[in-house]
Chain length 202, copies 3
Amino acid sequence: MSEILDLVGIFVFALSGALMGVRKKLDGVGMLVLASMTALGGGVVRDLILNVRPIAFQSLGYVLVPVAATVIVFFWHPHVARVMPAILVLDAAGLGLFCAVGTEKALEYGLNPLHAALLGVVTAVGGGMLRDVLAGEIPTLLYDRQLYAVPAMLGSGVMAALSSYGLHGWPATLAAALLAFGLRITSMRFNWRFPMAKGAGQ
Amino acid sequence: MSEILDLVGIFVFALSGALMGVRKKLDGVGMLVLASMTALGGGVVRDLILNVRPIAFQSLGYVLVPVAATVIVFFWHPHVARVMPAILVLDAAGLGLFCAVGTEKALEYGLNPLHAALLGVVTAVGGGMLRDVLAGEIPTLLYDRQLYAVPAMLGSGVMAALSSYGLHGWPATLAAALLAFGLRITSMRFNWRFPMAKGAGQ
Amino acid sequence: MSEILDLVGIFVFALSGALMGVRKKLDGVGMLVLASMTALGGGVVRDLILNVRPIAFQSLGYVLVPVAATVIVFFWHPHVARVMPAILVLDAAGLGLFCAVGTEKALEYGLNPLHAALLGVVTAVGGGMLRDVLAGEIPTLLYDRQLYAVPAMLGSGVMAALSSYGLHGWPATLAAALLAFGLRITSMRFNWRFPMAKGAGQ
């Protein structure tokens, strides 16, 4: 169950990477590289820090799903772009899921709650940062348009807190993921932004 | 034998990194950083994912060869640039070698063929991607001008397939490397390109 | 003692990352990401290469110090920018400390002196490179304005050499850090630069 949800998140993140490739006029190979980096990058960094072999290099689905997403975008990208609002909702779901699952895995490997939550955030936002850097752009996360990292911090923090109180398993994961998802969706709806320092850039 | 071929590949990749430094008007230190990243980056990422200490931090030659390449380019770069067509042929040889050797090492460490081939591609193209990102450019790989990643995929795939059929050792490595090399050279000669999605970037 | 000095270095590096965020008009989250990457990036890469769990994900201070630095810059960045000359001196101190401590840790984990020195340099300059790449700039290190990598090489090399002659412990670390610090300060004072290759960029 957990792996299926993980693969759904990977599929959605891969779609967003492949679409970025289309916008940047990359060829099919560039689309596949961006799709794979977006989908798998966060989890690979998480596993490297946990000092275990990345799951993406152990399970078949993790390699095939980005390929499938790239093929779909390659042939039907105008349709995919048209349902982009729906994809943004799915992306928010992926964000929630990745931060909760990432925090959970970090706790299993013995990190304390604060570090586990930090690694959950890295899992959720790492792939998107790699995508933006490779595409030659400053990661949108750094502007945090409509709150992107903040929901991941909320979800990871809640996951770590629940676990400290002895609440484990999929209900806790789901609750944390839903909270992150909800904050992300709400801040998209109301265009919430994190403030800048006063007088920045002057 | 395998290490000598590896060092030849590292030397050629380091030359291309140092030359990029000259073009970007970096100083000698910047040239050395780009040369080292290009030459060693792919193998370091491969070894991190395999969860072993990177070979570049165990063997002396891996550190000294990029230094030598940088010194050569620093003092004689007009001559090096003049023989660039020859270097592109050597670079194709390095590409073929790195994907075959990388796949082989991944198989030795117990990855299944698909993941081993993926890691072989990472070994072959990772250093060049790091070089381009550090130099402030979108990795040329993403445009795959004249097929760069595709030959690495071919070589890695053949290496993994041969190994599945029980064919190991340097003849298999050499065959896979030659196939990748041949496809790269041929696509340079005939300017083959991988297609873009229809209507991309509009 | 060693950890306190390490945290001072992390604080100074985090200040420089957060200030870069202000200059780039990032929001508070972007400032925190840049501050953390600058402060922790070099050490995380060092620990990944040593194949141990990064210290940043084990010790509480390593997470809290970048947060504190970001909060300070967020509310008082004009004052922080005003004392920037003092911060550059502290940054030089951090550079010296990080290269010495990084080399020492690498030697402890069994790397030979040359590789340990290389890893010390990576520790000292890695975070700053990540900061610049994320901020969409070519790492200033590659131009090595007023010698930045060279002092790190000196400090790391001296540390490794002292260790080869049986000199360990904090006096050796301090001596190596002071040498790197001194060269960095001197080259800032006299605007020393590393040469470019003749005719570069033409």
